[in-house]
Symmetry: C2
Subunit: 411 residues, 2 copies
Amino acid sequence: MSVGIRHDDLRRRNRAMVLSAVRRAGQPSRTEIAATTGLSHSTISAISSDLIHEGILAESKPSETASLKRGRPQVGLALSPEAAAVVTVVLSLNFLSVAVIDYAGQVVAEEQRRLDTLTMPRDELIGECTAIVRRRLEDPDLDVGSVARIAMGIQGITDSHARAMLWSPITPLTDIPFADILEKEFGIPATMENDCNMMAVALQWRDPDRYRDNFIAILLSHGIGMGLVLKGELFTGTHSSGGEFGHMIHRPGGALCRCGRRGCVEAYAGNYAIWRSAMGMSEDAEPVDVGDAEMRSLAAKAREKDGPEREAYRRAGEALGFGLGSLFALIDPAPVAMVGVSAAAFDLIEPALREAIAQTAGGQHSKSISFDTEPNELPLIREGCAMRALTFVDQEIFAPGVQARTGKQFA
Amino acid sequence: MSVGIRHDDLRRRNRAMVLSAVRRAGQPSRTEIAATTGLSHSTISAISSDLIHEGILAESKPSETASLKRGRPQVGLALSPEAAAVVTVVLSLNFLSVAVIDYAGQVVAEEQRRLDTLTMPRDELIGECTAIVRRRLEDPDLDVGSVARIAMGIQGITDSHARAMLWSPITPLTDIPFADILEKEFGIPATMENDCNMMAVALQWRDPDRYRDNFIAILLSHGIGMGLVLKGELFTGTHSSGGEFGHMIHRPGGALCRCGRRGCVEAYAGNYAIWRSAMGMSEDAEPVDVGDAEMRSLAAKAREKDGPEREAYRRAGEALGFGLGSLFALIDPAPVAMVGVSAAAFDLIEPALREAIAQTAGGQHSKSISFDTEPNELPLIREGCAMRALTFVDQEIFAPGVQARTGKQFA
DNA sequence: CAGTATTTTTTCGAGGCTCGAAAAAAAGCC
DNA sequence: GGCTTTTTTTCGAGCCTCGAAAAAATACTG
């Protein structure tokens, strides 16, 4: 049951609102903030004065176009970079990447590392993750505010509380409580996020006009993943991280999927599935890892001439189309972003995909569905993790209950 | 962008919260309301005193068990029946039913009518709907507060603003703006709701323990419909009313569906599909209407001995299972209520359904998924419409901005 | 049966928040 | 340099919620 609004919540929520408006708009003036939040000028003045005194916001020079206008120039408000910092950790197949990001969202330090995730034992994998974070945090050159949050992203299934990796294609290991591990190791609140969800979060910040209330981010990589935003909010399941779009059933009893079941969308559209089909292998053949370079040359071959390679992409498009069609039957069509190495081959996938969608209930407006492609998923995932961590700081650290705020103010 | 909280909103929201607590709990005392809302006793005292003076709430005798306890007995607060009234209109195949309901949720008048919806011309269908409402409203015996809302429910697709019927299986007519028609005719705000969504709303009120945050209501009738509640809120699409579960693709290119496409879940699990299959007709045969009595005797035959009837139900279960499995891959498993005439034959459907789910990604916890059945959909739909209309009154009429409230208070 | 204990509800003053109006500030314009 | 325009701050008023204390209404106890 939702809870009543107490009097103290008022200021707390409006503080969060102001911070959110500044993060979104970049350097809005107090007047602009008043307009977007619907609060009065006096309230915005009071809140921003507080935030400036607390070192969370800073006044910046008026924007360059300001000199054209008549009256008193607007003073832009910006996030104070040194107010806090966050750390992002992205663990993907054979690759680990960490970044330290200031409160204004700028990357101030980073480190990347290749490692063999598929064969690494549990302790070693965890050890690599904590070690790389420790190196960045203990770097004497690092000059940021106190680190307030760690957000880790991983391909696979995470639990619904964003605490643990339950299963991932990058390692045979399961149920690693990364959030707890990082919190215990560094004493900093941490979360474990699903990669596709972070892609969706990043898209929402990168292009809010296109990706606002309802959209879908699909990862076309070794596996097929999905991040779904509905009504402006990330949709995550009640038990696990999010939609297992790749494991919707395309053909009951069909091709063998990495998950062990048959007929999943991924068993037709994952890299290994496209490869398997292009090589003329059986649909029952065990999934194998295919490198990005191989996939790119496969796509080149498919573009060159009609043959089993092109047919493999066509079948991938068909599977994705039926999957999307079923999804659209449930949630109404929405913009789609295709991310990952096979998104670079979307020209080979799109025709069959559109044809399949058109045969489904969700395909009534199939022509109006627009697709965007982004071949490189890692920057998106990192960006999503960063924004996730930063908005947490905005809302939970810098706009807490009154007690905590005054505590900080006079400490 | 979400908007800041203005000072006046505070009281408005807390009033709404109190009304909601009373509607949910029945006859809670002020102390109980304070506990569930988290507001202080003084605030609850002030708000409920207002609401009582405005005639919206009334004190009722303490509950019978009160006499056991020691101190001052709790005074129950109840919704004042005469504070307002709402009207529900449910239009289904060959059947029109209207009820007038008081603010406390009791039916105070009703009328039902058989009519031939499939052949009726547009004007006549609209005319019947407005006429039956007019008769109930103008009945001199009717003794209720002013009617504040009309909620109409219909099987089929409604637009996302709950204003119009876009398409319905009960009539060849399309795009009837019932909400506008009713508003214009009676000067009372009206909405046009989807039947399955209303079933879900009703279930949430009937059994809040079982149907709270995430659950699914599936209508097994001529067509297959779904009402979906996620995070405690009805999920409706952005363009149309809700999930077209029945038109998810079960077998690409498969059996002919009423919608004209092929392979939809409905083309295997709708009454007409079960009938078609049981009678040994082709999967391409045109869908025909099958009466409830025929369906019941079909189910009886299927229970009696193994044969084409039993096989037809088995195939229906398989289609429903794969559809549910795909859905659960996206949203995590949740309790399911099967409603409608074929829900009475769920014993015939369930084994194949569970088997199909177990083969899908959503089926990991398939044994834990629980099904409930309710053969009669009409009472549920009406109840959902009633609650929808009443909660609208709670929130929009009795907890409006400050101006309107004081206006009402002193008028 | 009167006094005490217990629980619910109301009252009352304090503190905090937002708002509107007016004032102050900071420019460009003439 | 005065006037206009726009932004920002200041200030008093009005609400709202809260906590503490008081009042109300009952059961228990000897």
